[in-house]
């Protein structure tokens, strides 16, 4: 070994020494700088698991609230806010569960509600959203909506309450006098739980033909088309928007 070392040229010896020094420095650094429990479970300190487990618990979960507030819970779980946990609005409640003298806060202003309900293009269509600037700007939300059962003050009678754009469009179209329900069989549940009870939509050309076919048994003024000759291969609403039909002069 020593013989071989002697045979190395001077510069190689220096390089080897530097390399060894470097390796030694790395080993020492690893020894001192890596926490001893690093890698116990994964790429992190094993001790951090216990540290995190020992953090003070602040949230209690909404199941415990039912024990004492069964009246409110019952209302809430039946309403629109069934999936919004109590502590989202009232804040962490672990301490309150232990000792009910420790009071929780109730968000009586407008700020919290807007967090979820302000209009945002990225929210799914159908999620109840408002533009708070124009949605009664002065009163707090809870003066009209019960936070635990936030039904709109009255269930909308008209389809236009929710499908405003379509209703407005239709109201000045040739189909103004055709009722929504003529074309869409909407069950009353649709107004309460729209997504789970979607109304029907016309499916065939013949549906429009009920009024527009040449032999249709309806009032005289309705324009007629020859159902066999008029663009037979397509459904009608590929060309005519049913809520604003145009014949494209």
């Amino acid at each position: 070994m020593l013989k071989l070392w002697k045979k190395f040229p001077g510069q190689l010896k220096r390089l080897i020494l530097i390399f060894l020094l470097f390796v030694a420095a790395l080993m020492t650094a690893r020894h001192f700088l890596i926490p001893h429990d690093y890698g116990q479970y994964g790429n992190y300190r094993g001790g951090s698991v216990h540290e995190i487990a020992n953090l003070e618990v602040k949230y209690a979960g909404q199941i415990v609230c039912v024990d004492c507030h069964d009246d409110i819970a019952e209302i809430k779980f039946a309403g629109y806010h069934k999936n919004v946990a109590c502590e989202v609005c009232h804040g962490p409640g672990a301490a309150h569960v232990e000792d009910s003298d420790i009071e929780l806060t109730s968000p009586r202003g407008r700020d919290l509600c807007i967090l979820c309900h302000e209009y945002l293009p990225s929210r799914p269509t159908g999620f109840p959203q408002i533009v708070s600037e124009s949605h009664n700007r002065v009163k707090p939300c809870i003066s009209c909506h019960d936070p635990h059962d936030p039904v709109p003050p009255e269930a909308p009678k008209e389809c236009s309450a929710c499908h405003g754009t379509i209703a407005r469009t239709k109201s000045h179209s040739y189909h103004a006098d055709v009722e929504c329900v003529y074309c869409h069989q909407a069950s009353p549940e649709h107004k309460v739980n729209p997504r789970e009870n979607l109304p029907s939509k016309p499916k065939t050309r013949d549906f429009c033909g009920k009024c527009h076919a040449e032999d249709a048994d309806v009032e005289f003024g309705i324009p007629r088309v020859d159902m066999d000759a008029h663009e037979k291969r397509y459904v009608c609403w590929q060309c005519h928007y049913p809520h604003l039909p145009e014949a494209g002069q």
Partner: protein, 397 residues
């Protein structure tokens, strides 16, 4: 309005179509454009140097040491944009202590350390060792001790020892070429392996990165070589300059073909992303991709060099043509990096909308810091030239 809100709000007017909320602001900004640009220059300069040692292109000898020092100067600056972008530079050593082998990004430290320690420093040291010893003998004061220390106090400069250096350098250069490929191929791999992003996800990415790196490295050396000889009031070596221009030309041809190949591949495949990518290229990236990268950075220099080579024009004029072409190539390659990094984040993953990038001026990720990081390597290089003069007449006979 809060500053962040204000910043986001100003972006709203630039957005078109549908875009997810977390895509409005780009996460990788100017600094991440600079990072592949700098590493590309390193790899390119090194590959130019290896043309001399491995492929024995004698004409390029005047640029050999210069290229090595340039590679070193830019390599020193290369991780700075990353450190500035990530924040907490004081924790950066941790990626060496507890390596995460399953993360390509976390392996950067090792790719970098290998290239710096095992390739570049070693090659420079071995190549300069004999000169360092001889310089130290002649000099006095600080310089003497600096050179002595740099030579690691070695003394052997008899024939056998120097022959050993030469052999060793050759071996290192041979290891160095795949290492340089690794260094920049790795940067391309980082982007190419992101399968969620159709603009990046391509196996060609590392290869395209590599060849654009070679192009930019050679162009940089051409610029530095001409400026340095001019400043030292020496004559430009004609054969050397012609060879530099030729190699730059060849590398550009390969780079160009690869990019066209990638382009055709995308168009022919016509995946569902093609519509939004076409919109991107013909809209927000039109100037930086079609005009700067393709026209100004590729086609014009290609034609200029070809013209200068084909027609008999005076050497003085040729010099200008080459110099300007090399400058244009730098702009082109910089916007190549820009188009990859920024372009890849301008479209929504919904493929239905585009956002915009507003560059900050001050701040850690702003223009000023980026400019500083881009200029820094030139100062490092100036310093290296002082300590390790690469000129032929500084060599000891």
């Amino acid at each position: 309005m809060e500053p962040t809100t204000h910043h986001l709000y100003s972006l709203f007017h630039e957005i078109s179509g549908y875009i997810y909320p977390n895509e409005i602001e780009l996460h990788w900004k100017l600094l991440i454009v600079i990072y592949p640009y700098l590493t590309g220059l390193v790899a390119g300069a090194f590959i130019l140097a290896s043309l001399v040692k491995v492929f024995n292109v004698q004409q390029l000898k005047p640029t050999y040491r210069m290229s090595l020092l340039t590679a070193l100067a830019f390599l020193i600056a290369a991780p700075l944009p990353l450190l500035a972008h990530l924040g907490h530079p004081e924790k950066s050593y941790e990626i060496f202590l507890t390596p995460n082998t399953t993360s390509a990004m976390a392996m950067f430290g090792f790719v970098y350390a290998w290239y710096l320690g095992a390739v570049l420093l070693l090659e420079i040291w071995l190549d300069y060792r004999r000169d360092l010893v001889l310089w130290a003998r002649k000099e006095k004061g600080v310089k003497k001790w600096l050179h002595k220390a740099l030579s690691l106090f070695s003394v052997d400069i008899y024939d056998k020892a120097v022959r050993f250096d030469k052999k060793f350098v050759k071996i290192i250069t041979i290891i160095g070429i795949p290492s340089a490929f690794l260094l920049h191929g790795y940067v391309g791999f980082l982007f190419g392996s992101i399968k969620a992003n159709p603009w990046w996800s391509s196996v060609l990415m590392p290869i395209v990165f590599l060849f654009s790196a070679i192009v930019s490295g050679i162009a940089l050396m051409l610029i530095i070589y001409m400026i340095v000889t001019m400043m030292k009031e020496r004559t430009v070596d004609r054969a050397c300059l012609e060879k530099l221009a030729s190699f730059m030309f060849y590398a550009m041809i390969v780079d160009f073909s690869l990019e066209i190949l990638d382009f055709m591949h995308r168009i022919y495949e016509s995946e569902e992303s093609i519509k939004i990518l076409a919109e991107l290229v013909s809209g927000k990236l039109f100037v930086s991709l079609i005009v700067i990268q393709l026209l100004i950075g590729m086609i014009i220099p290609l034609m200029a060099i070809a013209g200068a080579k084909l027609f008999k024009i005076p050497f003085e004029l040729k010099k200008i043509v080459y110099f300007v072409s090399a400058l244009l190539v730098q702009f082109g390659i910089f916007s190549t990096r820009w188009n990859v990094v920024i372009g890849g984040q301008l479209f929504s993953k919904s493929f239905r909308g585009l956002t915009a990038y507003k560059m900050e001026f001050l701040g850690l990720e702003g223009l000023m810091v980026s400019l500083a990081i881009m200029i820094l390597p030139l100062f490092i290089l100036w310093f290296l030239f002082k300590v390790l003069p690469p000129w032929d007449d500084a060599r000891n006979p």
